[in-house]
């Protein structure tokens, strides 16, 4: 009892401004403590909420994964199928349509002219032709040059031979652009 009276006496002796400052300090401390406590509660609440949310998401993901796993054979076949179609596409794109060339040349060839041999590669065609009719060679050259599907970039006759009977043998050398034909 004597101590309390003593403290009261002491307080009375402290200047009012100092007491006011102390009170402000206490209020600020209280407010800051309050803010921190509320923040703690909010953060913990959020954590709990997100944790639950995450767990439920995780469960959903796991159940969806399980469901997908039940389709894994279908997925495997599908994957293999798609990859093969892609592979097929790449092969077909680079395919050199040699049969089309053969047919085009056959179509451009005049009836009086015969092709004794032909070599077709991706960028060139070599032919050995034979005929008794010189004009048919000229027609053949014109047909080849004017065929839009063949896209011949150069045509050369490497060898030309005519015998006594008038039979002509000629070696044609054609440079082609293989990407054009469809």
């Amino acid at each position: 009892m004597s101590i309390e009276i003593n403290l009261l006496k002491q307080k009375e002796s402290i200047p009012e401004s100092v007491l006011k400052l102390s009170r402000i300090l206490k209020i600020i401390s209280l407010i800051i403590t309050g803010i921190f406590v509320i923040a703690s509660i909010i953060i913990l609440g959020f954590r709990l909420f997100f944790n639950l949310n995450y767990q439920s998401l995780e469960n959903k993901v796991n159940s969806t994964k399980k469901e997908i796993e039940s389709f894994k054979t279908t997925e495997g076949v599908y994957l293999a199928f798609i990859q093969k179609v892609v592979g097929l596409d790449s092969v077909l794109k680079q395919r050199f349509k040699i049969n089309q060339y053969l047919k085009k040349i056959q179509a451009d060839k005049p009836a009086e002219l015969s092709i004794n041999s032909i070599k077709i590669a991706r960028d060139s065609i070599q032919m050995q032709i034979g005929t008794l009719n010189l004009k048919s060679i000229d027609d053949f050259i014109n047909n080849l040059q004017n065929d839009p599907d063949l896209n011949i970039t150069s045509l050369a006759i490497d060898n030309f031979y005519q015998d006594k009977l008038g039979y002509v043998n000629a070696d044609f050398n054609l440079v082609i652009d293989a990407e054009v034909i469809n």
Partner: protein
């Protein structure tokens, strides 16, 4: 040094009025910071994980929906067709068998076949994506998963011009997928002789499906067009129905199933 009574009193007052509140404030802040900051960073981590999981879930749900849309019977039929056209292994008997059948159908004579098959079945055993394998007496073989592989060979055929052209046409429109690289044709006494330099293709099956959340490649119109373009191909050999997607034991090899995650 001895403090006076008044000084002592002042010190007590200052301590009570200022030091204790400031000290308690500092303790509160320090404790809160010590316990809360990690929690706050955990929340950030959780949020990141949650966002990631949401994205994964979305991908998985999309994938699942697409998988449910797949008509298993149709896929099975289409796969059987494409497996015949682009086999999963270097099938030399299939190549020879198809040439034989082409010969019978077109009436040409297959005079000779020259090929160097190189490595055959070992391809299946290797668990690598890409490896160069050299076997004694064989050609180096580069094994690449998910890429078309080639077998090159040449054949010599003879017959009438029409039958030879028919043979070439049918060869390009039949299984297994074959390209003609070069052609050399000679006409001797009405008989056409042709030397063909060919490449037949095959493609190894994928070894794994990859991660479960890997999205499905869309079977778009371009790919449909490619598949339809081989729809009228003559199939010379029907592969055994070793992949039946209605059954869980459907993978080509049970012990090293390609359809596992």
């Amino acid at each position: 040094m001895k403090l006076s009574k008044k000084t002592k009193k002042n010190l007590i007052i200052i301590t009570k009025l200022f030091v204790i509140p400031i000290l308690s404030l500092v303790i509160v802040i320090a404790l809160t910071a010590y316990f809360l900051f990690p929690r706050a960073s955990q929340i950030q981590e959780l949020l990141d994980k949650k966002n990631k999981e949401e994205k994964t879930l979305k991908n998985l749900e999309t994938k699942l929906a697409k998988l449910k849309e797949i008509n298993a019977n149709e896929l099975n039929e289409n796969y059987t067709i494409i497996e015949n056209i682009l086999p999963s292994k270097k099938d030399i008997p299939l190549i020879l068998s198809s040439l034989n059948q082409l010969q019978d159908q077109t009436g040409v004579n297959v005079d000779s076949i020259s090929l160097q098959p190189g490595l055959l079945e070992l391809l299946e055993e290797l668990e690598v994506n890409k490896e160069e394998v050299i076997i004694p007496g064989g050609l180096p073989t580069v094994i690449e998963e998910n890429k078309t592989q080639e077998v090159s060979y040449d054949i010599s055929i003879s017959g009438s011009k029409e039958s030879v052209i028919s043979f070439i046409d049918k060869l390009l429109a039949s299984s297994p997928l074959t390209n003609i690289n070069n052609l050399s044709l000679d006409e001797v006494y009405g008989q056409t002789r042709v030397l063909l330099y060919l490449t037949t293709f095959y493609m190894n099956l994928p070894k794994s499906l990859g991660t479960i959340d890997k999205p499905l490649t869309a079977y778009n119109d371009d790919l449909k067009g490619v598949f339809e373009s081989v729809g009228n191909y003559t199939i010379y050999k029907i592969v055994p129905d070793n992949i039946n997607i209605s059954s869980s034991s459907a993978s080509p090899k049970k012990d090293q199933s390609i359809f596992t995650f």
